[in-house]
Symmetry: C2
Amino acid sequence: MLEKNNKRRGRPRVFDMDAALDKVLEVFWKRGYEGASIAELTETLGINKPSLYAAFGNKEELFKKALSRYVAGPVAFIQEAINQPTAYEVAQSFLIQAAEFFTDMKHPKGCLIVQAALSESADSLMVKDLLTQYRYSYEHQLARRFEKAKKEGDLPADANAETLAKFLSTLHQGMSVQVTSGASKRELMEIVEFALKSWPR
Amino acid sequence: MLEKNNKRRGRPRVFDMDAALDKVLEVFWKRGYEGASIAELTETLGINKPSLYAAFGNKEELFKKALSRYVAGPVAFIQEAINQPTAYEVAQSFLIQAAEFFTDMKHPKGCLIVQAALSESADSLMVKDLLTQYRYSYEHQLARRFEKAKKEGDLPADANAETLAKFLSTLHQGMSVQVTSGASKRELMEIVEFALKSWPR
DNA sequence: TTAATAAAATACCGAACGGTACATAAATGT
DNA sequence: ACATTTATGTACCGTTCGGTATTTTATTAA
């Protein structure tokens, strides 16, 4: 097994890169991509700009690295939802966990992937498109899961897997907006409960 | 009746203020509050910065004036929805018109009030809070309408008017995000149709 | 002990940001 | 004709933006 290389040559880095990326993620999460300034990021980390650029590249690369930690960490609950045994439980798990996640006070409210870059602007175009792809990717995973459910018989044959997935995505994205407007976990749960009433089974 | 005062003293303004505000609105709509720069606004209007500031005040006041035109114009469809005779038709009208509005190619996609200022940042804080109030106000109008529907009997007595209103708001806000990701009118309509299946009546 | 390496801190770059001082031009009131 | 009023164009304000050149410092390899 590979041992961590503690004997790197040159002056040792004074900050931990993974911990730094988690802090960076929080700033992007709160401020959005364009709203997060390099100055705020470096102040948060307690380092100078050249150190930031040397370690992570420019702002866009930095965002992508923080985003990778986001999808590998906080958002992993989506896989748990998809692995539920029935379509109904998939939907229920997805929405309930989203409601809990969005209102968890251990991190900024709402979803980074939904809110970090919604508007059209010249220099955030790549980031906006990247986040759009992520949203579509999650939606597509849900759709495939519901296709499987149709074959397994826990969704009626006439159910539209893509519409069901898009409905969940839309509700998820709306909940992310709601929570930035101050909606509570309890309120989100009531929405979820109502939304699941129309679920076909 | 008051006649339009065509004989104002001093050098006449070279642009029409209402038409200018409509153009300003489009820019804020596309770019968001912070993403819309004074430079882009003045270039769009074909005027210089001092003219803009003299006519409308600073960026925040300018946004508020453009927002007033937004709520008086494009978003007036909400009143039409609220005036429908039954709760179900209110919900149906609200969502269908939102789907049409969001995908209308005559103006930027999505909803200004939902997307213009979602992130937390120092100088857009007032605007963010203002838009949050607007969102809450619309939601509250829906809730009151559904309370009325309960009294009139076209909603069951055990229906929760606030939850129904919040559900519609959430879906509306999610649809606004969906459309900036490229969702079509047809896709939105399928979501709407599905969402209305669970409507109590 | 010295060379090589890599990260640190300082200081700076041009461009864009929101906003304004000031002189000028075009209209009306007297 | 002339003062008054109001909008215009130019030129500028200080600040912040993302990003970097350069020097210094701390470590390892030889």
